[in-house]
């Protein structure tokens, strides 16, 4: 029976993704600008520690937190993207569509650039206090926009209008950022641009105390929306006729996506592309529209792709790390184009 074929295909795809994720996790911990032998790494993962203090420090304070950041951020953005694509019934939607990333950018711009304007404090950004301030500013900006969107969502009946509002918020934020840049010193603009390029390695363990719980809550929350998302595939009218409370479901979806996107953007910068691309890859891979498959699938594939990009960005030879945003887009865009081309051929 065809139904059985589809089921075994899904199992196979999940198994494949699981292995891929595991491999990428190991690669993320073992590869980097400092060579650490595999035997040492496996011993370290097994909890036996290492005699070499420097290696131990690199693993514990740099590679391990960075791996966790990429893992969770990838999963979070992919889930956010899938939810937005379903809610707005638009394949171009991504987690940033609500204007949350722009809000975060605005928060950062205000702190970085206006500090510069009012006192030339750009050196502040480089200090660890500065990094925390930036995260905090991004957090305030992102959640500020999120609450505004949620407030408007209660007033607006129509999803398309909400989408337009989100995009407008994005434009307005960019405009203000542009103005701030116009009046800022070069060094400050560079600090802002560096934030905008994104990074997975700014999260130390104390920040993980906020980052991890927020994302875990959001990811678990998304599991509770599976039924609503499936019904919303048919559009709002059918969904409400099938017993769905549209406003409540929409609020749930916005809160979860908002929480995930705002948290990731606050700590890692606006990571482009992942949230838009991963759902498309999963739909192509699993050949289903069922969110009880797609939600876990995008989590695993999103995490894998983020980890993969992180490995590339850190390849030995690149001094330090490449901006993650450039890597995600450069690697991801061709993948998505190829998926879309392949799909078009199939449907002909």
């Amino acid at each position: 029976m065809q139904g059985e074929v589809a089921k075994s295909r899904k199992k196979l795809a999940f198994a494949g993704l699981g292995v891929l994720l595991l491999l990428l996790l190991i690669m993320n911990i073992s590869l980097g600008s400092v060579y650490i032998p595999f035997s040492v790494i496996f011993k370290w993962i097994a909890g036996q520690g290492t005699e070499n203090e420097i290696w131990g420090n690199i693993l514990l304070k740099s590679r391990f937190p960075q791996t966790i950041t990429a893992l969770l951020a990838g999963a979070a953005l992919a889930v956010g993207g899938l939810q937005m694509q379903t809610l707005f019934r638009n394949p171009l939607a991504g987690p940033s569509i609500l204007g949350i990333s722009s809000g975060a950018g605005l928060g950062v711009a205000i702190v970085v650039l206006s500090f510069g304007i009012f006192g030339g404090l750009s050196t502040l950004v480089a200090s660890s206090f500065g990094v925390i301030t930036i995260s905090f500013a991004a957090f305030i900006g992102a959640f500020g926009v999120l609450f505004m969107v949620l407030f408007l969502a209660r007033k607006l009946k129509n999803n398309a209008m909400l989408l337009i509002v989100g995009i407008m918020v994005g434009y307005a934020s960019s405009a203000i950022v542009g103005l701030l840049q116009f009046f800022s010193a070069k060094e400050d603009i560079k600090s802002y641009v560096v934030w905008e390029l994104g990074s997975f390695n700014n999260i130390s363990w104390d920040k993980h105390l906020i980052f991890i719980p927020l994302l875990i809550i959001g990811l678990i929350g998304s599991l509770f929306l599976i039924k609503s998302l499936n019904v919303l595939l048919l559009g709002e009218n059918y969904a409400s006729n099938l017993g769905l409370n549209i406003k409540r479901s929409r609020l749930g979806i916005l809160v979860v996506t908002g929480l995930l996107t705002a948290t990731v953007t606050a700590f890692c910068g606006p990571i482009a592309f992942l949230g838009l691309a991963v759902p498309h890859l999963c739909k192509g891979l699993f050949k289903t529209a069922d969110h009880s498959v797609l939600i876990p699938a995008v989590m695993v594939l999103g995490a894998s792709l983020a980890l993969f990009c992180n490995v590339i960005a850190r390849l030995p030879g690149f001094d330090g790390a490449l901006p993650i945003n450039a890597v995600t887009s450069l690697i991801g865009a061709p993948i998505v184009v190829s998926v879309i081309l392949k799909r078009r051929n199939l449907s002909q």
């Binding site: 139904g3 499936n230 048919l234 009218n237 006729n241 017993g243 409370n245 289903t288 529209a289």
Partner: protein, 333 residues
């Protein structure tokens, strides 16, 4: 005595509760197993009425009762078990199979994660079978024709297990055979499963043949309800649909192009062929009559030349193709 499924009291419908309603004073009811067609010209407010009855629009005034319960006081979860809908929204979802689509109809009954029980699965298969999509169960809907997709939506409405089903122009995108198929399917479901079915359509002739009752709606007129035959004889169809150049023929129950200056041609013969000759004459602007007049066409059922055309009893042409005959008629008259 058939059970009353839906009762509408003093209903006023419209999009904006501030402005004047589109239609007021609507009083109708629907019985178990009744098949009702809602007819009306474009812009009559059919969709508005349908949206109000499905619970998508608030009534401006009056009540919509499903059984004993007022639609407006019910939460979505209750409405979903009273009325199911098939809308004009075209469903284009990548990778969604017929099974998955129909299974969504079980949503009001499934648990928190929407997981189907074995009973649900069986119901879904049965419904897919009933609408004639058995071989399509695991096909994705983006690779199906409009008619097949519409059948899948009807199966979705079936597994929702509501006593009442509302369909907004279910045959709008379909070709004629598919239209007939869908209408017959719906009629059968209303008879066999005792569901009340209300559908809006522009296919007047089909509705006249198949509907148990017809609701007529037009801008500025009150809703008219009756069985098709009564509505024709009371000239309601004429008053609702006729406009300049369009005439409703009470004899055939269909529309005709109205010719103001049609020339009479006597038509003799009572075979099927003579009926089609009459159609051809009408199409070309002549009026086929049974009285004798200057021009005459005779149709016989066999022989070499089936059709003969006379001008003042003088034979003009004999032939066995209506096309040749008509060319001669147009040439001489």
């Amino acid at each position: 005595m058939m059970k009353e499924l839906l009762k509408v009291n003093q209903l006023s419908v419209g999009y904006n509760s501030g402005s004047a309603p589109l239609h007021s004073n609507i009083n109708v009811e629907v019985l178990e197993g009744e098949f009702i067609c809602l007819l009306g010209p474009n812009g009559a407010g059919k969709s508005t009425l349908i949206k109000t009855l499905s619970g998508f629009l608030q009534p401006i005034h009056g009540t919509v009762l499903y059984g004993e319960q007022d639609l407006n006081t019910l939460p979505e979860s209750q409405i979903s078990k009273m009325v199911s809908v098939v809308l004009t929204d075209r469903i284009q979802i990548q990778n969604l199979t017929v099974f998955e689509l129909v299974a969504l109809g079980r949503t009001p009954y499934t648990g928190f994660f929407g997981k189907l029980t074995p009973d649900d699965v069986q119901l879904v298969h049965k419904a897919i079978d009933e609408v004639g999509l058995k071989g399509y169960t695991y096909k994705t809907i983006d690779k199906m024709s409009d008619g097949e997709r519409q059948k899948a939506m009807i199966a979705k409405a079936l597994v929702q297990e509501t006593p009442f089903i509302i369909l907004d122009e279910p045959t709008a995108f379909l070709d004629l055979p598919a239209k007939l198929e869908i209408m017959q399917l719906l009629k059968r479901l209303s008879c066999e499963k005792k569901r009340g079915i209300l559908l809006s359509t522009h296919d007047l002739e089909m509705a006249l043949q198949i509907a148990d009752k017809i609701w007529l709606l037009a801008q500025g007129k009150e809703l008219k309800v009756g069985i098709p035959e009564d509505l024709i004889l009371s000239n309601d169809f004429k008053t609702f649909f006729e406009r300049e150049g369009v005439v409703f023929d009470n004899n055939s129950g269909s529309f005709k192009y109205h010719r103001i200056n049609s020339k009479p041609v006597a038509l003799e013969g009572d075979s099927v062929a003579s009926k089609w000759v009459g159609r051809a004459l009408y199409r070309l602007g002549y009026n086929p009559v049974s009285d004798s007049c200057e021009y005459k066409i005779n149709v016989v059922s066999n022989g070499d030349n089936l059709y003969s055309f006379y001008e003042n009893d003088k034979l003009m042409i004999e032939c066995n193709k209506i096309q040749t005959l008509m060319e001669k008629v147009v040439e001489t008259y």
